[in-house]
Symmetry: C2
Subunit: 366 residues, 2 copies
């Protein structure tokens, strides 16, 4: 969907002449009341479910949750996946041409925030003729977008489902992002973010960034269970540079794969959007005040072994919602997989979402 | 101290014609029974206490613990700090000339293990005419050396004090080390570890490695207390590359400082020594069996907010020692500072060590 009107951004800049890529699943009902918006996190896109024709391995990133008969049932809901501006998966981003210069944006792509994304998504809904969503759902950074929807466009959603998220990043979260960014920006192939013009890619930096990210997505226990201290050759080879442990092999593989398809400028933009998100800031640190205008019914979910966005962070949100006298349910799921649990097919987690969407479907058809 | 006889290493290689730098504090008594060996961790050296003449800022890394009247009282003990082979602080390391080639070792410096270091330290004691130590003490990687002393040279120490350590690295610990190593080895200035010959230093990689290390030394809470989400300019400037948050400024400063003085090959060697340490491995994973020959009295200490080497890891060691029917005391200190707590002047921690060394001093003089 192409947008001619510039998008005003939190930074004061404007994004001109931009496009958002989106996918829809299921059928919008006559009342236009059964739409559910799915917000994506760092390494994801509009392609939330299903496969592309002739590409059986192209499963959407939340395919275990979304589809016919699944917890978010596309036989009952009209599901919308939308790729955010600044991404490298189709929507206008750093690799696209800046109409002001005729050259790729690169490092000059305007800094975007969670709030900017939510506003861009709201414009997409305008264009689709959808006034009000049955629900907005997202995990991690996607959960921040769901929360932001409830604060910025309260009349436009009935339910807000925010999974494995946080009211803002901790200093440690920001620190991990900054290490990843420094790995990228100090890669000589980065060229200050204008590597497209040099026909290079800062792959070394992207690899290190992704390896580090992966550690924070998995729980310590899950890593021990999956890799432990296993040596790739069964015993030490006494080398500082070759791969000795299975965990090293896994991380290097993940880093290599990521560096082949992800854009470095997008990585910087998305980690910054994470850093900046802090809706309480405009209210003197009072998160309950930030939710004062919200009218949605909230479902929060966290996972016990998630140390990136721990249950304590979800409880902060729940407490603020309770203080603000909002309608909120909260589930803390015992799951071993760390932050990644929100993407996995955990029976209790999916049963919870199935029940919740079952209720929402009844409200929609009522 | 120069050693003519080659040191046989766990890898099967030998370190020929090497030197160890050491410092001593206090006076060795007539019975040669009051010596305490202090083992250093990643970023430290033989310079454990005091200042160098005319350099008031050259305080040893454990100066708050070691000195006249301090918990490890140099009026009563003869304290020895020794720099391990492979280090960049004076003992034979990658920057030194390989006698076999006449060129700096660089990446060809033999891989060294905790056990190799302990054996090198034992040779230093031989040369100093010290048969038996009153105690060996170390924190983190230094604690691993203390444990290894008790296993490899049981007759040569009366007390083993192992602080904030672990019986081996978890998969997550290894993963963090590997990310740091990849940041270094993929820096174009690394030249496969032979950067001395290219007159370069892989500073970018060292910076990223150190920034990452720092995150794991501090607790999440300590970071939030010290930096929180404070912006360097009070508000977002909306930039992906400049410093926005105080925590970023701190980490970049730490990374810059470290890259000025630390050697990249040493970083690889020391993180590998951490990875390899696993005394239970030779006993089919049975840590109690690894302690079967130990006769020292053990003092273990951990800190509640240390997530790098958590209290649970110290408890594994304590359990193995109890199973092996060894003499062990264990203190879990409530301290907010994470892994770094072992270097800090915490009142309860220092009171504990003061009491322990007081007992040891009585045994020595009895």
């Amino acid at each position: 969907m192409r947008f001619a009107a510039p998008l005003p951004l939190a930074s004061g800049a404007r994004l001109a002449d931009y496009a958002l890529v989106y996918e829809t699943y299921g059928t919008l009902n006559a009342a236009r009341s059964n739409a559910v918006l799915v917000c994506h996190a760092l390494n994801a896109s509009h392609h939330v479910a299903g496969t592309h024709a002739g590409q059986p391995k192209s499963e959407g990133w939340w395919d275990n949750l979304i589809g016919p008969g699944k917890p978010l049932d596309t036989d009952r809901f009209f599901v919308i996946g939308v790729n955010n501006p600044g991404s490298c998966f189709g929507s206008t981003g750093p690799m696209h041409v800046d109409p002001a210069t005729g050259r790729p944006y690169g490092a000059d792509f305007p800094v975007v925030t969670v709030e900017d994304w939510v506003d861009a998504q709201a414009r997409l809904l305008d264009a689709l003729g959808i006034d009000r969503l049955a629900a907005v759902i997202g995990g991690s950074l996607g959960g921040m977008q769901a929360l932001s929807w409830a604060m910025r466009h309260p009349a436009r959603l009935a339910h807000c489902l925010a999974i494995a998220t946080a009211p803002n990043l901790s200093a440690q979260n920001i620190a991990f992002n900054e290490v990843a960014r420094r790995a990228i920006t100090t890669d000589p192939e980065f060229h200050g973010g204008h590597y497209y013009a040099h026909a290079t890619v800062p792959r070394r930096g992207l690899r290190v960034a992704r390896m580090l990210g992966h550690i924070t997505y998995l729980s310590d226990d899950a890593m021990d269970a999956k890799f432990g201290r296993a040596y790739v050759d069964g015993a030490p080879a006494y080398s500082t540079q070759r791969i000795e442990f299975e965990i090293e092999s896994y991380l290097r593989y993940q880093g290599d794969k990521f560096s082949e398809y992800f854009d470095a400028n997008t990585y910087l933009l998305i980690t910054r959007a994470l850093d900046y998100f802090d809706p309480a800031r405009a209210h003197g640190g009072d998160l309950a005040a930030a939710f004062a205008a919200a009218t949605a019914k909230f479902q929060l979910v966290s996972f016990t072994t998630d140390w990136r966005f721990s249950p304590a962070r979800s409880r902060e949100i729940v407490k603020a919602l309770v203080d603000a006298k909002r309608d909120v349910s909260y589930a803390e799921i015992a799951a071993p997989h760390g932050h990644d649990a929100f993407l996995l097919d955990d029976a209790r987690y999916h049963a919870l979402l199935r029940a919740r969407f079952g209720q929402i479907a009844k409200e929609v058809s009522a």
